[in-house]
Symmetry: D2
Subunit: 229 residues, 4 copies
């Protein structure tokens, strides 16, 4: 996936009960419907155990939430790119704040994902680590500015320089990488703000997975992305 | 699974190309055939991405190679028991030497596996850590005595006290846990030796996965287990 | 150190500013004074950087807060037993809840500490992991029952079975190991309760380090230990 | 420390017996002698337990081999910048290949080292991770090109593009950072080659620590650095 796809929306299913197994499949189908209705590209990042199931039943890309840098071989209990690929994954998150890796492992994972044709989405926790990730040349970077996490501050209400500074620092190092906003998105206004400030897509999770009516919130986000296209 | 099943044979598929995806399915069917022919209980421990596929197509138990102690929720990229269970797993390896956990995590994983009905197989690297694992009360302990790993020493040729000492120390702490021999098994003689010295089953990997004729070696191992029943 | 010393009090200096560098030295001297006044054995567990300084200036034993299982050699940035010993340490905490280790590493650390003559104090987070630690045969086990951490519940007010159950499970496995109570101690009554319920000493931290008058609280704890001797 | 110091030589003492405790002090004095004789700036990176001892007795800067990103407080067994500073350290290695950190931790360590006035030397395993480190703006980057590690290939005999490519990629991102060559240095010719190819100093270990006559090899390296000034 790349810039030509227009704005992208990745939904991280994490290990929520509402997005595991059969429920993961239902939610993926909802995302697929919204993609058909809006043309906005949807991606689901599910647990390793659900990749095969989902990729067999939906057409939108299924991503892993994590990969390990290990090669094929005597590496019990590791998530390697070849297995992800064969089970149907088209990409993977790397270094999510809940599953961090060493710098060396991040670089290996990006390279190995690329080797087998998986799209790499590296997560960065601030503008500085974002620029470091940019130097590693992944396909996408999802930035979670600390000012937007946990504090309940939404992108649309945050000081705009938090996002623009991050985008600027990443662009100084890498002109091609797709930049996603990975925090502070809880309503459609936040989506519009993120894109206006330079992001080219969003990485969301609980705002969709935990929603009473996921289809409505996904549609709202998609429409906001559509307006920014 | 427990002592009533008689001798058990778990095959760890690791991340070998010969035991990933479709090839994992083929090898699982081979194990199933041997179970039907011999009555020896076979278990496959596959990658997380293959659990759903295998559990849909074979009747022998499919185990995970690793679980994390995280609960359901905001834990991106973790392997949790509920997801393993729903994807079809009936048990899991825990603390394999290639995927080690903290003591606290091992205890939580055993407890959480038990809560959802997954069989727990904890790996221990020597007699002392084996006895510590016994205190944690898992369903099974797979011991890999260091004298039998890497050095190329087979159980059948090793000093018998290496295995008997391990069995004795575990039994001092826990009378019920099923003890598997997890190293030094490369031919049928090693299987017989392991059981004669007190093990109640085997955990094998490359000797089966990398075999030119896996069915033959699995059959040989199963027959050796049968004789010890 | 062993049972013959009578009740033991270990003060974990953690990385508090009040117990780093020169302030660590002052606090150690306070502990030494109380030992002289009461006869109760005091131990300070300080940061690696302070071991040499403290062991040069106080006579009470100085312990490390952590060791790694690495051997001497090409292991940059690790805390090995030989260096701890040469710098003046007489013992070490192992597997503190804030610095956890794999089961295999815990076993190696205990063994390696013993090889160079360092007293090993393994921390366990509950009764079950405590009994696992007992099987590893360290010199002491410091147990932090979860019911006594963070919840603000003091030993003296907790259900007594929380502590007695832990002591019983450890004793089932190991008759010799010294058992310390490592949580729920904020006043002298808690010390008395812990010992009455079977503990043979205490591992404390903030209640001493963060005290307005550390000498008073240490004296109070020592007197409570003295009464239980 | 910065570019104004001219070529720099850091000796990583690791956890070798030849560079622990009293022997660490002797070797530090040797380095100091060579600094006095040649004017080349010498730095010793010793174990945490030896920082106080060495910094009391030698005038050359003493660096830590590792720091953790934890703040002062309830963090048992961690190596924090304030304690390093107070014990006499003037800088620290960060993310050595034998003690790797997450990307987020590397960024925090650099920032926290800077806050207390410690010089930061981040280690990178190849040209790509080196450029990522450059984006984090440490004081120095020590690069260990994989082609020069373990393979026994010396800088002076390696393809020069291995080093020049690394230097170029780092310079593209950061004009100020001091670049050290951290692998492939076993004799004086390698030092000259490294500097000719763009490095501004060297990070060495076993070639000095394990030498029969450390003073001779240190002098040889210093003279090679002197010629390149």
């Amino acid at each position: 996936m790349n810039k030509k796809h227009g704005p992208i929306m990745i939904v991280n299913f994490k290990t929520y009960p509402e997005s595991t197994g059969r429920k993961a499949l239902e939610l993926s189908k909802t995302l697929q419907e919204v993609q058909k209705e809006t043309g906005i590209h949807m991606v689901v990042a599910c647990q390793a155990t659900d990749i095969f199931l989902l990729s067999q039943h939906v057409e939108i890309p299924v991503f892993a939430q994590h990969i390990d840098p290990q090669l094929q071989g005597a590496h019990t209990g590791h998530d390697i790119v070849e297995a992800m690929k064969e089970s149907g994954a088209q990409g993977t998150l790397i270094n999510h704040s809940e599953r961090q890796l060493t710098l060396s492992a991040i670089e290996q994972c990006i390279r190995r994902a690329s080797n087998v044709g998986l799209t790499s989405v590296v997560c960065a926790n601030n503008a500085v680590t974002g620029s470091a990730c940019a130097a590693l040349d992944p396909d996408m970077i999802a930035v979670e500015p600390p000012e937007l996490i946990g504090t309940g501050v939404a992108v649309s209400k945050a000081k705009p320089e938090v996002v623009t500074d991050t985008v600027t620092r990443i662009r100084d190092v890498n002109a091609e990488v797709v930049i996603l906003c990975g925090a502070g998105i809880s309503e459609a206004d936040d989506v519009s703000s993120a894109l206006r400030l330079g992001a080219e897509g969003i990485l969301v999770s609980s705002s969709v997975v935990k929603a009473g009516n996921p289809k409505k919130i996904v549609s709202d986000f998609a429409k906001a992305l559509l307006l920014c296209r």
